[in-house]
């Protein structure tokens, strides 16, 4: 038990994370927390979903337990398993169980990456039962009011394989995380990368140009995260043109014509 106590301590966020709200996501999430409703964060990669969860956890003073989902994730990885210690079978809680037990916030990042048979364990937690059956222990945990479930997913991946089942998604309150306005995004980039606001604005302008190129063959435009990376490179003394190239345009596409066009944007802007 001491072990868990210690582990959970590590998940408390003590310092206020930098987070710039983009719409009413905070108010909605606080209301969801108060009513025991799980939340679903939708949005493209790198638009601040993870950061928002950190901020929310800090605000609510609850530990945040994040699980990045992948297709090898088993139910045992989430709920827990027995292990042998000194010749005895000792139960180890998985992150989800730990979060339920301790009233933490459990954030399943990129939930669609997990296999469907894994995601079913969250169903009874996500509706008004708010319970988690721990089969191997024969235990039925009822989540305390402090527990919160949050999942994220990126609707940009167009694969049908990677879509949430309606029965899953309807249990959640959905928060739409689109890219913030130019001003706000520039503020985020300036603050996170430590660059001047004029440079940050130009970086955001570049990103916005890339986000409208779906019909020209660019499936996903530059995320805020890429902009921050480029900004950080500039702070390290890399010239802006090459910073944009290595951090933004090259990661986006391999198509020579498209890359040339992106490069023209970079050269026009900076």
């Amino acid at each position: 038990m001491q072990d868990i106590e210690q582990k959970i301590e590590e998940h408390h966020i003590r310092e206020e994370p930098y987070y710039l709200p983009t719409a009413n996501e905070l108010a909605v999430s606080l209301a969801a927390y108060a009513t025991g409703t799980p939340i679903l964060l939708k949005g493209p990669t790198g638009c601040g979903k993870t950061r928002f969860m950190q901020y929310l956890a800090w605000k609510l003073k609850r530990p945040l337990i994040t699980v990045s989902c992948h297709d090898d994730l088993s139910t045992g990885d989430l709920v827990g398993r027995y292990l042998i210690q000194a010749g005895e079978a000792v139960w180890h809680d998985g992150p989800l169980t730990m979060a339920v037990r301790r009233g933490a916030i459990c954030y399943l990042d990129e939930i669609v990456e997990a296999r469907k048979d894994t995601t079913v364990v969250i169903h009874p937690l996500a509706d008004d039962r708010r319970e988690l059956p721990v089969e191997k222990k024969g235990e039925l945990l009822v989540a305390p009011p402090e527990f919160m479930l949050a999942v994220s997913y990126n609707p940009g991946y167009q694969s049908v394989l990677k879509d949430l089942k309606p029965s899953t998604r309807q249990r959640f309150l959905a928060l739409d995380f689109d890219y913030p306005s130019l001003e706000r995004e520039a503020e985020i980039v300036a603050s996170e990368a430590g660059v001047e606001s004029s440079l940050a604005r130009s970086l955001v302008k570049l990103a916005r140009m890339t986000r409208g190129l779906k019909d020209s063959g660019l499936v996903e435009g530059a995320s805020t995260r890429l902009l921050i990376q480029a900004g950080k490179l500039v702070v390290q003394g890399i010239p802006i043109h090459s910073a944009c190239r290595v951090a933004i345009t090259q990661p986006l596409s391999d198509d020579p014509e498209l890359l040339a066009a992106l490069d023209e944007m970079v050269r026009s802007l900076f």
Partner: protein, 761 residues
């Protein structure tokens, strides 16, 4: 090459047409003195130009030697593009002029002098789309201008300078015209319907007694405003063009490079007409307005005021009329074109709205639309006739709901016959654009859609099939129209048709002919299957799963029944690949081409038997958009049976190559398949082309777009072609790394399995 073999080759290139022998001979005479390389380069263009116009083809060939004297071999293909372009826009006469102009054509591309639009467009099109946040087509035109929907650019830049400089000038032209669009210089204000009939600026210019001067002044101040906006938004661009000051502004900067300053100097300083005692005060009047136009809050009303004020000043000093030649990047103001574009856009939105709403209504559960007007008469395909006023108008009211967050009102649902119909995102965006343009969403738009939906419900089958029993109901696919950068909604009707499985000797012959190769392929393919992966927690296997064992020990120590899934097994069937082979069955695959394609299918199928990859084979052909056909030769779940073999044997050339609807159909088949890799392999003998206007850039762009759609759906596509003229457009269509051109048809059967092997391992 002698005359006879030349003639023979020509006939082969234009097959199945059989032009008059003397026409052919006469035309080919134009090449009789030309060297081998030139002849080849010319003949390569024949398959492209022949279907567009036979006379045009003859015309070009008959002047081959003369043209060849002016063109470098690598310029022949762009030159032919220019010919086609002129033909499409101005008919045979235009093409003739272009042909006569060949010395000039070379002058502008030769060495370090200028650039062709085609050379810059690939880079500039996505660039301007990015700037604008929407598609702004770049189109070739007589001169530079924008109608606010597209930007028209000269086909070639005749400047002295490197091609990189030429590119920069194109880039600056495009950026400047984008500025004109972004700042609303030519925007049609006013919401009242019909405003687009006449541009408000037209009235404004007409109010000046010297209207050319008024126009020039307005454009001058707007140019100042746009240049200072570009300076603000695209500082890098301004830095890039600073060495081109002379070409762009006709002068070198005295101090730092400042485009508005240079423009002012260029337009106002050193003009003899302005000399006189009041010269200084006139200039300072202009200068004052110039500065105001550079302030961030400046808008086009300010430029209008500036124009009026400066006009007054000029009038007082008796300096009228005063006119300016537009600078290279400014181009001309074309108000009529702006109005036309606006009207066209309005009409397109109307059509799109009616079409999308009606198909939206049809997708609703029946009741919603059944009560709607079903009495409408048969409708023509293209015109949407609105029902007579009052016919269904009273039946509906529409309401507007806007979300609290967004200031712009958005239509989210409409009420038809007391039934609330939710709009999807696309429709509500469209409705938003329409009401912004017209002030409201006209009720006739909705009633037309309701009427159309009602009629389609009871619509009879327009195309009873002629051959082969049908397998499924026709499917409807959109088509991409690159000229307006939008879909033609529900444009193509596609059917799956059964191919009769006929017994023939083909199969047996092929199996014998390639016996050795097939054996070898099977061995190679068998090796591919051994993509190894360890699966854990199995009942039996080669190794013990240690994690599972520990867990079981722990479980049993805790009093739980131990699990027996304690082994790790090496799994070999984890390729998880699903592939569809889409095969061109158009007329042009007649003869040995078709035979090689069939042999390739056999070889691949034989080899595929060694793999667990799921694969399907579909053929496609058809004629016109309402009769696109797809022939399942082997579906994904079907075994490679004798029926399948017979079907492959019975493949025969059919009609045309409208490839995109077939691709879209394949996307819909592959999309729901669960697999690690979903692949669409397209085997064709050349250009997408149909009987109607579906050819040239239009067909290529539609196909390219369909391939984008595949990519967006997570499907990889790869093209194999046997058309030796294909290099120019294949890379553009598929992306350079996603296609291959097979020059020796005899190699095709062996190559297709080889390509498959490389692609999937």
């Amino acid at each position: 090459m002698n005359d006879a073999s030349l003639k023979q080759l020509f006939y082969r290139l234009v097959a199945p047409s059989l032009p008059n022998e003397w026409d052919v001979e006469e035309a080919l005479e134009g090449l009789s003195g030309a060297d081998e390389q030139l002849v080849t380069a010319f003949l390569e263009q024949v398959p492209m130009i022949w279907p567009v116009s036979h006379s045009l083809c003859f015309l070009c060939i008959s002047q081959g030697e003369k043209i060849g004297a002016h063109l470098k071999p690598e310029m022949i293909s762009p030159w032919f593009k220019g010919v086609l372009d002129n033909y499409e826009r101005h008919g045979l006469r235009g093409a003739q002029q272009f042909i006569d102009d060949v010395p000039n054509f070379m002058a502008c591309v030769q060495g370090r002098r200028g650039l062709l639009l085609e050379e810059a467009q690939g880079r500039l099109q996505p660039y301007v789309n990015g700037l604008a946040g929407r598609e702004v087509p770049l189109l070739p035109g007589e001169q530079l201008f924008t109608d606010t929907c597209s930007i028209f650019l000269p086909r070639a830049l005749r400047i002295r300078g490197s091609s990189e400089e030429g590119f920069l000038i194109y880039k600056f032209m495009v950026s400047f015209q984008w500025g004109i669009i972004a700042l609303g210089t030519l925007a049609i204000k006013g919401h009242e319907q019909g405003a687009a009939q006449s541009h408000p600026l037209k009235r404004f210019f007409a109010d000046f007694p010297e209207s050319e001067t008024g126009r020039g002044l307005y454009y001058f101040f707007e140019t100042v405003r746009v240049l200072s906006y570009l300076q603000q938004e695209l500082p890098g661009l301004i830095r890039q063009i600073s060495p081109l000051s002379r070409q762009l502004f006709g002068r070198e900067p005295a101090g730092a490079f400042s485009p508005p300053e240079l423009l002012f100097e260029r337009c106002w300083q050193g003009r003899s007409q302005l000399a006189g005692p009041d010269h200084a005060s006139l200039l300072s009047l202009v200068k004052g307005w110039c500065l105001r136009c550079q302030e961030p809050q400046a808008n086009r009303s300010l430029s209008m005021t500036a124009a009026v004020e400066v006009y007054g000043g000029l009038e007082q000093c008796g300096r009228l009329p005063l006119v300016w030649e537009p600078l290279l990047f400014q181009g001309a103001i074309q108000l009529e074109a702006v109005c036309r574009a606006a009207l066209k856009q309005r009409q397109e939105r109307h059509e799109l709205f009616v079409a999308s709403l009606s198909s939206h209504l049809l997708q609703l559960p029946p009741r919603a639309a059944d009560d709607a007007d079903t009495s409408g008469e048969e409708e023509q395909e293209q015109e949407q006739r609105s029902p007579a006023p009052g016919q269904s108008d009273q039946a509906m009211i529409f309401e507007q709901r806007s979300t609290g967050e967004h200031p712009g009102q958005r239509l989210l649902s409409i009420t038809i016959d007391n039934q609330e119909v939710e709009l999807n995102a696309e429709l509500s965006e469209l409705a938003g654009a329409i009401s912004e343009d017209l002030g409201e969403l006209p009720k006739t738009y909705i009633s037309s859609a309701v009427g159309k939906a009602g009629r389609s419900r009871g619509a009879p089958d327009l195309h009873p099939d002629e051959e082969g029993p049908e397998i499924k109901a026709p499917l409807v696919y959109d088509e991409w129209d690159y000229r307006r950068q939008g879909y033609r909604k529900n444009w193509c009707l596609l059917r799956e048709k059964e191919i009769p499985a006929v017994t023939s000797s083909f199969m047996a012959e092929t199996l014998t002919k390639y016996r050795g190769q097939i054996l070898q392929l099977r061995r190679q393919f068998e090796l591919m299957q051994t993509r190894e992966r360890f699966v854990r927690r199995q009942r039996d296997g080669d190794e013990i799963d240690f994690d599972a064992l520990v867990e079981t020990l722990a479980d049993s120590a805790a009093g739980y029944p131990p699990s027996d899934r304690l082994f790790i097994r090496l799994q070999r069937d984890q390729r998880e690949i699903a592939v569809i082979l889409l095969v061109d069955m158009s007329n042009s695959t007649q003869g040995w081409v078709g035979k090689s394609i069939k042999e390739a299918l056999v070889l691949l199928s034989e080899a595929m038997e060694m793999l667990n990859d799921r694969y399907a084979i579909y053929g496609f052909s058809g004629m016109r958009r309402l009769r696109c056909e797809v022939y399942p030769l082997k579906t994904l779940d079907e075994a490679y049976s004798s029926t399948v073999r017979k079907r492959i044997g019975s493949i025969s050339p059919r009609e045309y190559t409208r490839m995109a609807p077939a691709i879209r159909h394949m996307i819909s088949l592959l999309k729901p398949v669960e697999a690690r890799l979903r692949l669409l392999l397209i085997l064709s003998d050349g250009k997408p082309e149909d009987y109607d206007d579906y050819k040239g850039s239009y067909a290529i762009e539609d196909t390219r777009h369909a391939l984008f759609e595949a990519k967006a759906a997570g499907i990889q596509s790869f093209g194999i072609t046997i058309d030796r003229h294909a290099q120019s457009y294949m890379g553009h269509m598929y992306g350079p790394a996603n296609c291959i051109f097979v020059d020796d048809i005899n190699r095709l059967p062996a190559l297709v399995p080889e390509i498959y092997r490389t692609l999937t391992s």
